[in-house]
Amino acid sequence: MSERIELDITLPKETRYLGLVGQIGESMARSLKRFTGDREELAYHINLVLTEAMANAIQHASEPSSTEVRITITLVQHKLTIKVYDQGQGFDLSNLAPPDAGSMVEHGRGLFIIRTIMDRVTYRKFKYGHVLEMEKTLH
């Protein structure tokens, strides 16, 4: 039996909704039928990736005039894809070097964390802005 989940979420562009999107991700992780790994770790990781990606869209990638953030979460068989859409000018993913291990910088860990947890991370232009696309194969 195949497992297919598609969630399409639109939220106000405000950090007060980070907890909500994180909870949605956690609940999804706990509901998966076929996943055999550490379910609590997966729940935390999906919460974290959604929180980091949405906070990034709010703080760095959105036009001041935009009021919403759109997030899609798709699971097809074992492949999880999370997309976060913004209407901003975008940023160059390759220019965002991760902080050194144990570095004392206060910012810049968000995308490093996303890249560590997810298998593939891309950031590309689409019709109305940019999309941060993150994929992970679940076992």
Partner: protein, 113 residues
């Protein structure tokens, strides 16, 4: 952000009473720490036992506090990390930077000469 502040001699114990320390509330913690530094406090223990989720902004606020304490010849130590929160420090290698204790009493005792 909800937090409890308790002064124990020259050490300030700050207990974060929030399930999440993230981009929504981490600035509150950073600001509160700065005002404590301005009041001359420079030895802090942050009790995170009630926190089950920390993101990069939360880590950034703690790093900010640690740097300010160090610059004033003080220290900022952490206590009561839940397993998933502890794993965030390991992921970012910040467990090598902070002194981390199982509970706040141990962290406070560690300041004694």
């Amino acid at each position: 952000m909800n937090m409890e502040i308790d002064e124990r001699g020259n050490i300030v114990l700050i207990s974060v009473v929030e399930e999440r320390l993230d981009a929504h509330n981490s600035t509150d913690l950073k600001t509160r720490l700065l005002s404590l530094f301005e009041d001359g406090k420079n030895n802090m223990v942050i009790n995170l036992e009630g926190v089950r989720f920390v993101d990069s902004s939360g880590l950034g606020a703690l790093v900010s506090g640690f740097k300010n304490a160090s610059a004033r010849n003080g220290n900022l130590k952490l206590a009561g990390l839940q397993p998933q929160v502890q794993s965030m420090f390991e992921l970012t290698r910040l467990h090598r930077v902070f002194e981390i204790f199982p509970n706040s009493e141990d962290a406070i005792a560690s300041f004694q000469p």
